[in-house]
């Protein structure tokens, strides 16, 4: 019985395999060859993009007949008077574009994750964009609607206001995906230090590595119990540095960007396409030795690598200088904090660019607005952006709330009425966090903005003297690392594990540690990252003619 069964099965199997193999597959290219096909007509693949352009084309004048309700996703927390201001805003918007806007807020908890979710789920129509929210990567991955054609047909006024050069900076892969704000600001990094202590002990202004060292040493000698720097790994999480102390090196180099390019590569501002190697240079070893010297001198805590809480250190006198992630805006805040503290402390600021000669304003993609892909009415959305940004009346409501209730203008300066009265403002300055809707022509200055503007003016003058006057080269670049993401991650990991202790000066033998770091980072796949990165960077510079 069993045998019979077995033989039956075998016969069947054989039969089946003959049937199967008879129709065995061959290479598709071979099959095409046999048919004599050498080229596949590539018409259908682009149907989708063709459709969208088709949609955009006939809209010569925008059709406002139907009311459209849009969701505008912005960062941060909602102001208390969200509904009140939204109502006032929508009243105007209905009148001018037959549209309403519902502001939705990310809150500051997990905001990066939620921002990505919002785009993935296509919950919003308008959205705040910024380079620190990965605008470049998002745009190239198709998160936003293309605005090129629509700008001409729907929003010529907006196009004129923003200007071609700023719009050009928002291009990703040759297409415009965002509308920048039009208020130029300088976020150039630098060193914030205690002017009162400097004057008291007659120390040099910390405007170079030597002077910074002398300044800190001087304070250490005079006040041995005073902690000097609050440096952590917080501001150094990318692919440039791994520990905040290394930011001080910006005094020494006139690199195209603060801390250079990624993966230990760098280029000078004047010759951005001449990419050179920093990690494998003698400069690097020398710099790391300096870091060790500083660490040994006690400039920062030996436990600094695990410390993540330094944001209040300067304000509370727990350090005498901050060197990472500081900009004019933070200096202005520090001045106000010190005034409030009333201890007679004084804060002063020196930008790295003042010493190394490279200074430039923020990039256009710093604060912008985009239309999320999947938005049902992209044209109307763009039209609303135009109204929000260009229409003075609407812009004022959006940015400052209701005049007379929330704010007033005295001598051309913004005054929050509730703050004046000692209450908590229910709609503070830029209460919707719409920094992307700053209109440079009409933006009302705050009282604190005077000091800020002074600094900006100074930097603007310095920026004029650079090779590319007042152009931020680097921040428009977005890397496409899809082809080497695994290597990239591994390099990042090696940086956390081996570069951070080096830059924090926590190693015994700098030369050996540098060698160790170099071998490990090479093993992680550094060369592959560098090769691709350089290619993309050079291509980017050529596209914008930064040569």
């Amino acid at each position: 019985m069993k045998k019979k069964l077995l033989s039956a099965v075998m016969t069947l199997a054989l039969l089946a395999s003959v049937v199967g193999c008879g129709s065995g597959s061959q290479s598709a290219a071979g099959a095409l060859d046999q048919q004599g096909v050498s080229e596949i007509p590539a018409t259908e693949a682009t149907t989708e993009t063709a459709e969208t352009t088709e949609e955009a084309a006939p809209a010569a004048a925008i059709d406002l007949s139907e009311q459209v309700d849009l969701v505008f996703y912005v960062m941060g927390d909602a102001p208390q008077d969200e509904e009140l201001v939204e109502e006032a805003l929508n009243e105007k918007l209905l009148e001018k574009c037959n549209a309403t806007v519902d502001m939705q807020f990310s809150t500051w908890t997990d905001f990066q994750q939620k921002y990505a979710n919002e785009i993935t789920s296509q919950g919003a129509d308008l959205i705040y964009i910024a380079n620190w929210l990965n605008y470049g990567q998002l745009a190239s991955s198709g998160a936003f609607e293309e605005l090129d054609d629509m700008l001409d047909t729907v929003a010529p006024e907006l196009k004129a206001l923003v200007g071609d050069s700023a719009l050009g900076m928002c291009k990703v892969g040759g297409k415009i995906y965002a509308i920048p704000n039009t208020w130029p600001e300088y976020v150039s990094n630098g060193v914030k230090y205690r002017e009162d202590l400097r004057a008291k002990y007659d120390l040099p202004v910390p405007d170079s590595l030597e002077n910074l060292e002398a300044y800190l040493m001087g304070i250490k000698e005079n006040e041995p119990n005073q902690p000097l720097l609050a440096v952590t790994t917080e501001e150094s999480q990318g692919f440039k540095t791994a520990f905040d102390a290394a930011w001080a090196l910006n005094f020494k180099y006139s690199w195209v960007n603060i801390n250079g390019l990624d993966y230990g590569l760098t280029a000078n501002y004047d010759t951005p396409t001449d990419v050179y190697d920093y990690w494998f240079s003698d400069d690097f070893v020398e710099d790391m030795k300096l870091m060790k010297k500083w660490a040994d001198a006690g400039f920062w805590s030996k436990s600094a690598l695990s410390d993540t809480n330094n944001s209040d250190a300067y304000k509370n006198g727990l350090c005498v200088a901050e060197i990472a992630g500081q900009n004019p805006n933070k200096q202005v805040t520090a001045i106000a904090d010190f005034t409030n503290a009333g201890e007679g402390w004084e804060s002063a600021y020196v930008a790295y660019g003042e010493t190394n000669g490279v200074i430039y304003p923020g990039h256009a993609t710093q604060n912008g607005t985009a239309v999320v892909r999947g938005c049902k009415n992209p044209e109307r959305a763009l039209y609303v952006i135009q109204t929000l940004l260009c229409d003075d009346e609407v812009n004022a409501i959006l940015q400052y709330g209701i005049k007379g209730t929330h704010y007033d203008v005295v001598d051309g300066i913004y005054k929050n009425l509730q703050e004046e009265a000692g209450e908590t403002p229910t709609f503070p300055y830029e209460g919707f966090n719409t920094w992307n809707m700053r209109n440079g022509d009409t933006k009302l200055p705050q009282a604190t903005d005077v000091a800020l503007q002074e600094m900006f003016d100074k930097y603007a003058k310095l920026g004029e003297k650079t090779k590319f006057p007042n152009v931020n080269i680097y921040d428009g670049f977005s890397e496409n690392y899809e082809a080497y993401s695994a290597e990239r991650s591994a390099v990042g990991n090696v940086m956390r594990q081996y570069l951070a202790p080096l830059q924090a000066g926590l190693v015994d033998d700098v030369d050996a540690a540098v060698e160790d770091f170099r071998t490990r980072v090479k093993d992680a796949g550094l060369d592959k990252c560098r090769e691709e990165y350089t290619k993309q960077w050079v291509a980017y510079c050529e596209e914008y003619d930064y040569k």
Binding site: S23, A31, A490, R496
Partner: protein, 483 residues
Amino acid sequence: MKTKYLSGISAICLILTLPFFDWIKLANLVALFSKMGVTMDMAANLYTGYNLYNLLSFVQYSGQGTLGLFAMVLLILVFATLYFNIAHIVRALLNDRNKAKAPNPHKASDLPLLAAAKTAFLFGIFTSAATIAFVLFANIKYKVAGFIPGASVFLILVISVAAYVFTKKLEKVERARYNEHGFAHEFKKNWVLFIMLVPTFVYFMINNYLPMLGVYFAFTSFNFRDGLWASPFTGFKNFEFLMKADLFRLTKNTILYNVVFIGVGNALQIIFAILVSKVTVKWFKKTSQTLMFMPYFVSFVILKVIVYNVFEYQYGLINNFVTQAGAERIDFYNTPSYWPFLITFFYLWKNIGYGMVVYLATIMGIDNEIYEAAKVDGAGELQQIRYITLPHIRPTFIILLLYALGSIMKGQFELFYQLIGNNGVLFNVSDIFDTYVYRITTTQPLSIGLGTAAGLYQSIFGFLIIVVVNFLVKKKNPEYALF
């Protein structure tokens, strides 16, 4: 004897599911490729016929993410069919022996074998039907008759359906003979129990099973243009970063910490639960229990700050004492050897009071009469614990242990991340799988696939462990098994 024919049919199905046969053939190549946007270069990697095993390579090389999820479902189905057919055949070969071994000749039915056969044929039907559905789906999608199901698909479908009907008939006869019942009867008998499960079913469907489709993202490279379900299929690319990592170290650290956490944690929880249960003064009992519960409320963010303040080099509490005593400062944050102990200590500190509750409740669930009887018999405290309390706790302990095993590759991210942070000096002893993955994913903020891939690795690891361990436990004592 008829069951023998069934296994024969199963064998045929098995052979047909092997990757010798084309299940799906491409036709109208030029039209199809032009609709898909496939170029001549890409065509070099493609074939004119595919089986379900390599169908995903077609998805990958032709860049058709839209077909990816469906193709993956087919792959899973075909593997399931393969598995169930083999299981059926093996069972058929062992059937006589099993029957002979059965303790009760009345129980020696063919029903388990028939159930296996039914499953095997059912999956044969599923797979072949799904393949036909896939072909229809793809053809409608591209508006070209570009895909044709192979002959073997129809063959399997017909054979499976016929065999299934036949099996059903055999089963009916067998059931009548042994007085056993199928699902319909079970439902009739226990329909109340089924009703009790309806909310649970809805909950797990919404909250867990439907979102589980997202496992597919581990194999794609997500972009917004194509969306979640049509992004390019990239095979195992998202797993590459795991290969780049020091997987051995990560796995070792994760498992060692977890083993210590589970082992020492449960032991201490049991000890303290017993201690609390033995205390007779009520206020003390309540107070100590409450106080030990409190660390649970201290978030890791706060714990980190306190720990940093205690262990810092220059101004830390401990180093203050140390220098006052005239000794050298201790550089905790640059000395890895301290941290396994510190991490373990803080884990235990935070979790003992919380975990203790389970054991306390178990002890309180023990019938007081048993203790009374033991006391009358003169059993001392330790004897009572040894012979009454511990045996009663055992099932709970084993279940908790088994439960924890499935997540042995996951765990305690907050604890490690907050206490250690980005301190690379300590990574050799403090890096666990989750912290590593977190570091990697922060460098690629838009990659959905990376995190999903890492999660899948952890899941499969845990799943294999738990299936094996549960099987062993079940063999020893089915009462203690998790499922």
